[in-house]
Amino acid sequence: AQRVTQPEKLLSVFKGAPVELKCNYSYSGSPELFWYVQYSRQRLQLLLRHISRESIKGFTADLNKGETSFHLKKPFAQEEDSAMYYCALEAHDYKLSFGAGTTVTVRA
């Protein structure tokens, strides 16, 4: 069975500082990994997926199969980045498993 762990429930950074959200996973197969974001009063939405290798809103995430991690990073946090972030893994049977989420607060 797959499992996604986000060790930080809360993360507070200053505007302009780097931010890194940790995500570790366990899965016996080859995973597809995602980061979802939920801004205040908005729906859960896809931020990025590892296979696209895109940088979205300045965020990047690298899949490290050796460490089974998929950490989300941004070099310079902005106030609009304040949100709830979820790491998710899609197994071969299309089941999407989410971590518990990390609330990010970017302070001015």
Binding site: R43, L44, L46, E90, Y94, A100
Partner: protein, 112 residues
């Protein structure tokens, strides 16, 4: 397109009752997934339907059931409600299994 829509927005039930939640996918999307999100946790997968057939089921008791209609809308049914069923129920649609999922606003269920 309004995106994925869910109804009702919220509802209150008592233990033992049953509830039906509804979801309308984005036009053209043929896959619908249901998730339960308990306060303080991430969404938990309940079901996925594609072309009216069940594609996947999470670790939920048989009290939970779902179906998808010819127009690709979907219903989630929960029988014999327990206090622990209180949660936000999310619906997500995608073009097909494995594509990006678009989430609805959710239905907040409170069981008293």
């Amino acid at each position: 397109d309004a995106g994925v829509t869910q109804s009702p927005t919220h509802l209150i039930k008592t233990r033992g009752q049953h509830v039906t939640l509804r979801c309308s996918p984005i036009s053209g999307h043929k896959s619908v997934s249901w998730y339960q999100q308990v306060l303080g946790q991430g969404p938990q997968f309940i079901f996925q339907y594609y072309e009216k057939e069940e594609r996947g089921r999470g670790n939920f008791p048989d009290r939970f059931s779902a179906r998808q209609f010819p127009n690709y809308s979907s219903e989630l049914n929960v029988n014999a409600l327990l206090l622990g069923d209180s949660a936000l129920y999310l619906c997500a649609s995608s073009l097909s299994s494995g594509n990006e999922q678009f989430f609805g606003p959710g239905t907040r269920l409170t069981v008293l």
